[in-house]
Symmetry: C2
Subunit: 229 residues, 2 copies
């Protein structure tokens, strides 16, 4: 199941995009950070090990928060059970916001963007990863082959935003497809400046070690955005 995924059992070293994500995270020294959809707390702990003064992790899953608490021995990290659809955060209460592979489960991204913008101090960064809309858009998102036998990803319904149901570990998991333009414009309208965008692709070195990653060159699975208040 989900908790046996490499990124869950091996933490950040099991997530091939992590070197890129890490490169988009600013210096955390003395910063108050939040981790939206913290899961088992891998990034929450990493942020503290990399200088953050304090970290608060939020997740809607009671089980994940329980496991995060069990795996953390640090009084400057706390974990809170919260639904990002209704989350409220105190104004100017943090200096860095992070989220990994969570926002595609959030229906009202505009509300959440405004909430995060309000919670951040001026100049603070907001870095997050989501499933890429190219990966999510189609009714049947799975590999096909083109006429040369090359691995190919189907795209349809790209402009038709809204629910996508998949059977990923559980039947009928609901994700919310948004175009890349909508994600960027929502951040801009909330007051953020877009600083860097990555559509994660593995490096030649990563492919040499793990040849299966080569298929990620065919289509992006993940979108990573660094924005600044």
């Amino acid at each position: 199941g989900y908790s046996q995924l490499p990124r869950q059992t091996h933490g950040l070293s099991g997530a091939p995009e992590w070197p890129v994500v890490r490169g988009m995270i600013p210096d955390l020294s003395g910063k108050r950070a939040i981790d939206l959809g913290c899961g088992f707390g891998w990034v929450s702990r990493w942020m503290r090990e990399n200088g953050a003064a304090s970290v608060r992790g939020y997740d809607v899953s009671t089980n994940m928060i329980a496991r995060a608490r069990a795996d953390t021995n640090d009084v400057a990290i706390d974990y809170v059970i919260a639904d990002l659809e209704t989350l409220e955060l105190p104004e100017a209460s943090c200096d860095f916001a992070f989220s990994s592979l969570t926002f595609h489960y959030v229906e009202d991204f505009a509300r959440l963007s405004r909430t995060v913008h309000g919670a951040l101090t001026a100049g603070s960064w907001f870095v997050f990863t989501i499933e890429h809309p190219i990966f999510m858009a189609a009714t049947h998102p799975h590999w096909i082959e083109d006429e040369d036998g090359r691995k190919t990803w189907p795209v349809n319904r790209y402009a038709i935003e809204g629910e996508r149901r998949t059977d990923w570990f559980a039947k009928g998991v609901v994700k919310h497809h948004r175009t890349m333009a909508t994600t960027l414009n929502t951040l801009i309208e909330a007051g953020f400046s877009i600083r860097r965008v990555s559509e994660f692709a593995p490096s030649p070195e990563q492919i040499a070690v793990q040849p299966a990653l080569a298929e990620e060159l065919e289509r992006p699975m993940m979108l990573i955005i660094a924005a600044q208040r």
Copy 2:
């Protein structure tokens, strides 16, 4: 051939994305505008009709520039034959930069972005359309059907940037595929702020009038970016 396309024969009214593009163009009153890849000059003339003090259109095609000159009766518009790969522009010499469906033919977009940035006065906007990388990426970019018979677009080689050859009106036309992230990061690195992004999709009203446009909901053909110096 190319010159019989609706957008060439009917001008802006033949380009379904034009209402969106127009909405992303700032007030042009009194502005000195440039039109990079001006073709027959449709947008150059529109900009003058909408307040621009002067317009200079650039295109590499001698034939297009000849036709643009023949179709224009306005001493405040001039047309220049120029290759955007090597174009140089005087510093702070213009107040708005536009380009329509041209930059995917340009190999060195970073150089061009820096050139445009240098040519614009502080606060000036840069609005352009390009072929969307989802549309351009695959080796064989054409409609296929998914298992439900739905029109579907194939994506492969998305992360592999560089030449794409197509047989569009002429054999072996060379385009340069760049990911969406590269286009955005190149603008940001040149000094621009991203203000709005559109992956053009037709409105319900447009589809009612022209049902064939509905397929544009399946995958974006065009990317429109508004950036500001």
